[in-house]
């Protein structure tokens, strides 16, 4: 019988399977193995974690192809990788390497300040960052099959991820109150296609899976975002910039599953060593979330 690959159902289907899970940034095969052993539902391959990109500066690009392959060989869980905003050739290369998901990410230096990647042109699915509903729907219109908050990566400060998820929830609630004749005006205001605004109005949620990302550093941060209604979490610098990565990674996995059980959250929050130090948002020279539109 006929077999259809690369359909939107297949692309968004993998995101559905990642729900309730933790996707961890890794830069080496060894870190990928630690993430898998801790119970990560996927890993994100990149050259440098966001905290190092922030500290060292320079242009941040797609990870080296050899690194990506080493990570793929080290683990059996899905391997995602980051491409620069608008850099469709990095995306073509990552697709050809067989990565399971591409993150068109503001954490890397944008390659195009006007256009994001046409994600419909790919078989591999994409996840993109968003600060609010309009940005999420623009990315979905371009073919993204999964959304995450942008937050502020590499800070260990969850406040921006909270801000972005709150904005998403508030705007979705507003859209569900609209009468059909108001959809076009709302679409203009959000800068999003009216068909997607109508879907959100009817379903009361984003049409794809929505994860939290950008600044999560503790089990409590992960549970906070889950209680604010995200489907799962990305953790980047928060793990490998902490004193003792493996137990912290395990604790964040458990906290994401048991996000509404304070007893279990208390239990897993014991003895994790020092978290990453973290940064005040007001002190930042570069706000990664302002990349992309």
């Amino acid at each position: 019988m006929q077999r259809d690959t690369g359909t939107f159902t297949v692309k968004s289907g993998l995101a559905e399977m990642l729900k309730g899970g933790v996707i961890m940034d890794v830069t080496t095969a060894e870190q990928a193995k630690i993430a898998e052993d801790a119970g990560a539902c996927a890993v994100m391959a990149l050259e440098r974690v966001p905290a190092d990109i922030r500290r060292d500066g320079g242009v941040a690009r797609m990870a080296d192809a050899t690194k990506v392959e080493e990570i793929q060989q080290a683990v059996s869980i899905p391997v995602m990788a980051k491409a620069r905003i608008g850099h469709f050739v990095e995306a073509q290369i990552l697709q050809s390497l067989g990565v399971d998901y591409i993150d068109e990410s503001e954490v890397l230096t944008p390659a195009d300040e006007e256009y994001h990647i046409d994600k419909w042109a790919f078989t591999v699915p994409f996840v993109c960052g968003a600060r609010d509903l309009g940005e999420a729907l623009r990315r979905i219109a371009e073919g993204a099959a999964m959304i995450r908050t942008k937050g502020e990566a590499g800070t260990g400060n969850v406040v921006e991820a909270v801000r972005h998820q709150r904005a998403m929830l508030r705007q979705i609630a507003e859209v569900t109150q609209l009468r059909p004749e108001q959809y076009v005006t709302k679409a203009k205001e959000l800068g999003a296609p009216v068909d997607l605004v109508r879907i959100v109005a009817e379903q009361g949620k984003l049409p794809v899976v929505n994860f939290a990302a950008g600044g999560l550093a503790t089990p409590a941060d992960a549970a906070l975002m889950m209680q604010l209604g995200v489907d799962g979490v990305f953790v980047g610098s928060g793990i490998y910039k902490s004193e003792d990565p493996a137990p912290r990674a395990r604790a964040i996995v458990e906290a994401t599953t048991h996000f509404d059980d304070p007893e279990i959250l208390a239990k897993v929050s014991h003895g994790l060593g020092e978290p990453m130090q973290g940064l005040e948002i007001g002190s930042l020279e570069t706000r990664l979330q302002d990349r992309g539109w």
Binding site: Q2, R3, D4, G13, E16, K19, G20, C41, S76, V99
Partner: protein, 187 residues
């Protein structure tokens, strides 16, 4: 009062709960042994099998699920759920080891090879639409296992008494036939 538990450690458990509720049966999320004791059926959803296995071990759920299964509680596993039910996992560790099959994880390939297709299932009068996401396949089955459906020569739906397993995701496309069959299995 009959309640169907959905193992809610990780994965697409809400889609299963929605489907079971749409059939008119109460669905509750199961994350702890106490919640498990309160249900009379269990669905193990799709997700990442290694993640589900670690969380099940950390939550002391493995022994109670096995005991209930041997006691006759019906269990339905899809994709990752099929992997955790299997007695033998190639390049991996079995978790519940309840179903007499050998399973190969990610057998169809990476995400680029994930697909959707219609399959014929014994006892269901229409083609069942399945979404295969980095799906496992079955390498061999024991004498007690009935193969209810095959796709391209590989078993994709199997039953062993009170246990039902599918290598694909009917729950992603609102396909209720397999869940109806599962809910009809005697307790």
């Amino acid at each position: 009062m009959t309640k169907t538990g959905i193992l809610a450690l990780q994965g697409d458990f809400r889609e299963h709960a929605r489907l079971v509720s749409s059939i008119g049966v109460a669905a509750v999320e199961v994350r702890t042994p106490a919640q498990l004791a309160d249900v009379d059926r269990l669905v193990i959803p799709g997700g990442e099998s290694t993640t589900i296995a670690k969380l099940a071990l950390a939550g002391d759920l493995v022994r109670p699920i096995r005991d209930r299964a041997r006691d006759g509680m019906p269990i339905f596993g899809t994709c990752a759920g099929m992997i955790v039910l299997a007695e033998r996992v190639i390049d991996g560790d079995p978790l519940l080891a309840l179903m007499d099959v050998t399973v190969r994880r990610n057998a169809y390939g990476r995400q680029a090879e994930s697909f959707e297709a219609d399959v014929d299932v014994d006892g269901i009068d229409h083609p069942v639409h399945g979404v295969f996401i980095r799906a496992p396949w079955i390498e061999d089955v024991g004498p007690e296992v009935r193969v209810l459906s095959s796709y391209e020569g590989r078993p994709v739906v199997l039953q062993q008494r009170n246990l039902l397993a599918a290598s694909f995701h009917p729950e992603l496309v609102g396909e209720t036939a397999l869940h109806e069959f599962f809910l009809s299995l005697p307790r």
